[in-house]
Symmetry: D2
Subunit: 364 residues, 4 copies
């Protein structure tokens, strides 16, 4: 279904941008996990606008409430509903959207699909919808913490437009990612990225980039053959984020220029553990984790909302010129980092429960 | 579930490589569509090995039987089961796989997940599993032909290792794709690709590449906001194919180097129809088709099976050297073309039925 | 999933009894339907406690809020979230439940399943959970009103303990059901039922009974062969209501005492319409509606909460005596009537959308 | 979906009656379970026609083939496909069905739904479709044997028309059920039932009855709150069998005539185990098993095919008289017994895997 994700750890998000309130219902969460609003708030704060000088100054305070499924600080096993009220909604900033389809936004396609749309800020296509996902992933992290204790998910900005960072996936740490406002752990490049985003913003323009994510400590055996391959579900999760245009795992598109003899990952025994000497597979073989680091990258296009006048059309078929007002990100990448982590956590949590259902845990 | 795909047009594939028989059950197909085994066989023949000098010489005749769901030449609305017997299975060619995990194959991960595996040829991770998908897509094409008459799905080889073809997505025709054995409609480049594959094969090595796919005649409104975005479902479908490492739509990874003012697709009225002057969105905005051509690319790694000796380990943790025998593709790309088309057709068919369910057809 | 119902018109309910707030998310609703909070409130008011002298005096005001999916009075096609805050929660009335498993309640089984439970009023097993279902069904009615204009769902109390009403399913009207507080359209019997419930209540005891439901104006073709037969989905929906012990359709259990020659419904032509002279099938044949009235019955056991002292055990395995306090229904039947209607509406709405998806509407 | 059942142990059945071949695909089965065709054949033989003098003399040999998912005698964790060819199909026996809707059959409703039907023997509505379910349940039994070792499912004929057997659910044994051809463990009543069925058959008429099922050794905690309550899923499974008209659990419809003080099941400690002194709940409270025996009953109507001339209509709207030929059961009950067991096993297997997924096994 459109607004549901996951087979066993299943989330349902709801809410329109600027509709006042958004939220999520998480069904299938194991019981007896400690969970507080603070656990969720921590992740929401990384996602929200207004947290630094290079993201949109909208101040969506995004205070979450757990409204069901938790009792005396522990999960009950029943649906966990989380709600977030938008205290800073300004629907009138969007009034011009009623009469113009914003280029490269979802205004036209929603109208074409449903014959009706909420023109106040993008409706379900807004980045605001991801609040529910991030909240759900905070719960997913509790499940992973319980069932895969060593597992860690770290995403970061790998590139902004042409600026490419140099990052070691084996050693990069969360604290390095959070050490600067662009969330790029290569600190020299981070400074250049920040300057670049400021410059683009002052032009009224926008830029995109690539978020990379590494998952370490994954037990072998996660993912399923055929359709629900781990990389297929990760790919779907990432491509369901707003503004994404591509996904690649391990060697990715660059790997297509190698020969098999250069690309294959040779197995060896590391004491009693089967390991590979290289990791062009990106931690997944035949759809199933092999215990090496899972590494993938996600392409985010430049933000569609820019402050230049743009030609477009109105719902009644007239040519119009649109000049955006309001508060928008010139670059979504820093805020995309926690969204990428969130989707990775949701995919992993679901597959950990699936593995437990069919195989009783991990065989290797 | 691992072996199911689609929400309304749902397929279940089954069968191991070299297990003798593979097949598919299609649930949810509309009734009263004309369907014969010949309709399915045509697509299976494009997928099968042994069809040209650059693909594996295995002769899997792959004759399909429709065993349910069709009566007097028309679909009944009930599950359509299709079965294909492998007349050329030679499980003994794989006996060395019992005692060695093939590098960059799924041998180890299946063992790690399930504690057991069919070592005869890759089990469910084999390209042979895609027979069921291709058969199901032949049925999906009937649905699309009935509900979206102008829609066409054309995939082709865009690159082999470093060799890049030049192809116009607006005009490329199926006949051009099928005019050469590498399935690249740029005929000059196709010859170079064929020579390259032959040369790599004679080295006992393998190469990968990129398949591009264009879908023309898509009505606006296909796809869903949030999780089941059209590009997310296409991405999942493609990344569920064996040997894939990446997916991108429209401007893709390259689009991350543009500014918003360069990337946005400007709307205009083409008579009564809303259109865009460029198509960096790749035909999808906010997860929903906008009526422009859908264009995406899929990265296929070089085939893992090569004929060089490779170090690896055995299931009981010993170091061993493996030298593959048997009949294998040095380059999977020509045969991947119909697989990519098949997954695209399955995604579209499912979304066309979903659109009809919720919206009664197409509003635009 | 535990808290989801429906394949295309899918609802997710959440919230614990006495947890303060309950609600529902409806995914897959068609767009452009007029919907207001008043539409939902009307049905909630029929379900809520405190509405008459024979139901529990708890005053759960149950004011609903639509928090997403509706814009300017019309559905958007996106998830519709509805929330209801409990203003009259008195969790302390339940403190003795912390230390005693109430007989024939879900206290013990929740503890056995999850190792934890919300002991304040039954958690998810409470009738309060059905608020979300009733709210969702108010939305489902809008869909049915749009796609099956003549369809009407009427439930009523058929029996209370030994008191059996005599009701004509062809002619019974909603107004007759609502004309008395026990919701039995046989007004003479209704008076006896009311007296009986009052008498049982004054004994501190409880009674059960049977709710019957008739659905008129059903187009032929609704329901699916095999697993998702219309009666199977209706049966599941009804048996998912608290306190239900049985379901039967058409001739039901009594039909097992007839011979085939007595039981078969003979077809005849009523002008151009195929009809049956009797309706022992209850409007469903082979899992699919045949256009006759759908008639089914649901058995509700006597309410488990009684005001007699009862022996039971505590979570730590001690024998204890429990005497309930608080405000409880001596007979759930009058309030079960709108719940039965709600589940019937949800099943029908889902199947109407499924029929439209696969068959484009109705063939007959 | 119409032809799928189960969330984690998911089966897809396919095949038309008299279409030559029927089968099932089981997705989600745990690996490493011993499984042979003989395991499946044993259950199929109990279901098939021709096994005794009181069931239809059709000789559907029903030899099963496992065509995937098993390797060297053990399940692989991948989809298990099972196929059964009908060697005794005689489609011409059904030619008159092309031109007449059989009363109380699915002929008319299939035509109304799909605008097309396979008139050769009932298509998907035939009892022949249940072959796939019984085959899948033989696999489910292996899962239950591994994860719930003491669990046993025993169904039997409780009544034929007015003839009611007297059976103790605590002690009834499988061997007693199989000791006579009507599958009623009350041997005196079984003889009367057999005589009655013979007499009805010689009249060209048919009878129905009630199958009762007891499940012993169920761990507490199976089933989910709200929609996927254990009794709701059992009810759906049973009502999805051909010819069923009702389902009740525990005290059932008769329980509606008791007061709460008579109906409640009092808890006590049996050593360290929580038990109930009576079992009017039928082993399920709040949708979740409480460890007592699960007991339910299923109503089967008299077989619709009788050998009297019956008035009916033709697909082109003419009045016609139909007199059935062919080989049919005068009473489906003896063959329904293994079908009821099969659906119970499928529901339990799915819920055992769901319990393991969310709760890691059993807490109590």
């Amino acid at each position: 279904m459109s607004s549901q994700f996951g087979h066993l750890f299943r989330i349902s998000t709801w809410g329109e941008s600027h509709g006042g309130e958004v939220g999520v219902v998480v069904d299938g969460c194991p019981p007896q996990l400690e969970l507080s609003e603070a656990d969720i708030q921590r992740d929401l704060d990384r996602r929200r606008p207004g947290q630094s000088e290079i993201v949109t100054p909208r101040d969506e305070a995004d205070h979450c409430r757990i409204v069901s499924g938790v009792f005396e600080g522990r999960t009950l096993g029943t649906p966990i509903a989380v709600s977030v009220v938008n205290k800073d909604a300004r629907p009138d900033s969007y009034r011009e959207m009623e009469h113009a389809f914003r280029p490269s936004h979802a205004d036209y396609t929603y109208q074409a699909k449903y014959g009706v749309r909420n023109w106040q800020g993008g409706g379900r296509s807004s980045a605001r919808e991801t609040i529910g996902r991030v909240a759900a992933s905070a719960i997913g992290k509790k499940v992973l913490g319980s069932l895969c204790p060593g597992l860690e998910v770290i995403a970061y900005v790998r590139s902004i437009q042409h600026l490419q960072a140099d990052i070691d996936t084996d050693t990069v740490r969360f604290e390095e990612v959070e050490s600067n406002i662009v969330r790029c752990p290569d600190s020299a490049m981070a400074e250049r990225m920040i300057e670049h985003i400021k410059s683009v913003r002052s032009d009224g323009d926008s830029v995109g980039g690539v978020v990379e994510c590494v998952i370490r400590g994954v037990p072998p055996g996660l993912g399923e053959p055929v359709f629900d391959r781990l990389e297929a579900d990760l790919g779907k999760g990432m491509l369901s984020l707003p503004a994404t245009k591509g996904f690649e795992v391990g060697s990715g598109f660059a790997g297509t220029t190698l020969r098999g003899s250069e690309h294959n990952d040779i197995f060896y025994m590391d004491d009693t553990r089967v390991r590979t000497r290289s990791n062009r597979s990106g931690g997944v073989q035949g759809g199933i984790s092999n215990g090496e680091n899972i590494v993938f990258r996600v392409a985010f296009k430049p933000t569609a909302t820019i402050f230049h006048p743009q030609e477009t059309v109105s719902p009644d078929g007239k040519s119009v010129v649109l000049k955006a007002r309001g508060r928008h990100d010139a670059c979504v990448l820093p805020r995309a980092v926690p969204m990428v982590e969130a989707m990775a956590v949701l995919v992993l949590t679901d597959h950990v429960l699936r593995q437990r259902a069919q195989n009783g845990g991990f065989n290797a």
